[in-house]
């Protein structure tokens, strides 16, 4: 009885009305700051020409139209490299980069998390340290190495580095640590299953949320990849780059440009909406212990 009362008591005590109001207020202010620019993007994309040039400009569209999207598709059709080619480039590099990454990073993560071998910890520490610097620091030397490997101006220049994405390996390893119980693996090994078999048939099905997270992170990076310095040929450039070219076409294309922005942001947002719960589950084990 006493315990019950303590619990009830706690709920009342720890959640003061003033605190609730303050938190709600702060959250609302921050939410408005985050959300308004997004609203403006969408509003711009739906504005007919006369509203885009209205003075003073209105924040919210009055007579929404899909004309800007139509203009965007017309502009796409006029491009000398067909737009289907740009889309193919982005899809091809995204798929190749993402699945290669998922496969080799999860295999490595399994060995680092579940097999004790000399050097394993040191290797993981090195990989983890690389989370501490931004990859653009090595952009120049990367370029030189890729020219040495003759990878410049090929799809490989985009695909192969994506395989080595560090955050993906880190999240996968941490998730395996926390959600694949050693006892299950131990009994599989006693039954004579090889490590590779254990990895593929036992560990991998248990870490589905982490797969999805790796796929989404890698896909987001590749989808948002604009003009790569590693690619010269127009025919090999990404969808994002091509869209950027349209939007850079000056003020006459303001409407189409807003439509393009909406199109580009809709894809990663949609993907996140579908996979949110899995990503959050993966992040549950993202913590760093020393």
């Amino acid at each position: 009885m006493a315990k019950l009362r303590t619990r009830k008591h706690k709920v009342v005590l720890s959640r003061s009305a003033g605190g609730d109001a303050g938190i709600t207020f702060l959250l609302t202010i921050l939410g408005i700051f985050m959300f308004l620019p997004m609203v403006y993007v969408i509003s711009q994309s739906l504005k007919p020409l006369d509203e885009l040039w209205m003075y003073p400009p209105r924040f919210i569209v009055k007579n929404p139209t899909l004309g800007n999207f139509k203009d965007l598709f017309t502009l796409m059709n006029d491009s000398w490299v067909p737009f289907s080619r740009y889309i193919f480039n982005t899809v091809f590099t995204s798929v190749g980069g993402t699945f290669g990454h998922l496969f080799i990073a999860s295999m490595c993560a399994y060995a680092l998390a579940k097999i004790k071998f000399p050097g394993g910890k040191a290797i993981f520490k090195t990989i983890r340290t690389s989370l501490m610097f931004h990859s653009t620091v090595t952009a120049i030397t990367n370029f030189m190495l890729m020219s040495a490997f003759q990878m410049i101006d090929t799809y490989w220049a985009i695909i192969v580095p994506a395989w080595g994405y560090t955050l993906g390996l880190y999240l996968m390893k941490q998730f395996m640590d926390s959600s694949v119980p050693d006892t299950v693996l131990e009994s599989a090994r006693l039954d004579g299953a090889s490590e590779i078999r254990t990895y593929w048939t036992i560990a991998m099905p248990m870490v589905k949320p982490a797969w999805l997270t790796l796929i989404i992170y890698s896909f987001q990076a590749l989808w948002n990849a604009g003009a790569s310095t590693y690619i010269y040929s127009e025919q090999l450039k990404s969808f994002n780059y091509a869209i950027g070219k349209i939007t850079a076409g000056g003020i006459k294309r303001q409407g189409a440009s807003a439509a393009a922005t909406v199109l580009m942001m809709a894809v990663p947002i949609l993907v996140f909406v579908i996979s949110q719960s899995n990503i959050i589950e993966t992040m549950g084990s993202s913590g760093m212990k020393d």
Partner: protein, 315 residues
Amino acid sequence: MSKKSAEYQAVARKDITYRQWIWKEMKRNKVAYLMIAPYVLVFTLFTIVPVLLSFVISFTDFNMLQFPNFVGLENYINLFFADDIFLISAKNTLIFAVIVGPVSYLMSFLVAWFINELSPKIRSVVTLIFYAPAISGQVYMIWGTLFSADSQGWVNATLLETGIIESPISWFKDADYVMPLCIVVALWTSLGTSFLSFIAGLQGVDRSLYEAGAVDGVKNRWQELWYITLPSMKPQLMFGAIMAITNSFGFGGVVTALAGLPSVDYAAHTIMNHLEDYGGARYEIGYSSAIAVVLFLVMIGANTVVSKVISKVGS
């Protein structure tokens, strides 16, 4: 007895040396090396080798055309004593990092904490609102439209209409405004991976700890936060800090996109932009490698220091 020797006690043998034992262990775990080989190869080629190569090249005058000469510390000396623009960019990077790093970290944590007690459906909607700017690619360009330099821009028009200003301000081309604006945009896009990690960490805190805390006299949510939530989330706090620091020091892409390269009077020029300028535009590879090495060391240094501080929290 140290922890290490206790760990190895089970396998301690007298008949072979430590080195022989390691070799035996390595042979026994052949398959593990096989499994890590593909990833480690890619990681070595595209992360480790480029870092090492940057160090080596930073001591030369390599320019992509002629064979490089060894020049010792000349690049570094020029960087710190002759390149005024580098010093401006270092100052700007520091300002960015000191403001954007902690503020985005706090914002990520506070928002995650605020929404933690909402119902799952509402929570996922709010998560999306805060996370969307971080994943939407070039969407931050909308700030350029909102703060466009002519009276057609929404901010200028609103300020003109209300009589606060008399002539339009060219926001991103004005040395007084460009830096604060870039900071705002950086914060806007900064609720990323660490934010998600905090949300997950908060949901992972053992509920029974709160009940035990209430019995032990935890009075309000602030005490609950300090005595229970934060200590249980230390690993996530550490991970989030590293993400925030790395991103805030690597800031530069947004500046180029919104304010141009270089930004007006170098007012928002960061080390990253300086690197872009010398490496991408001028092909002074030796010199830009020195810039990259400095930035690399600063990032690793800041991360190490902050990790040490966080690991001390609550212990």
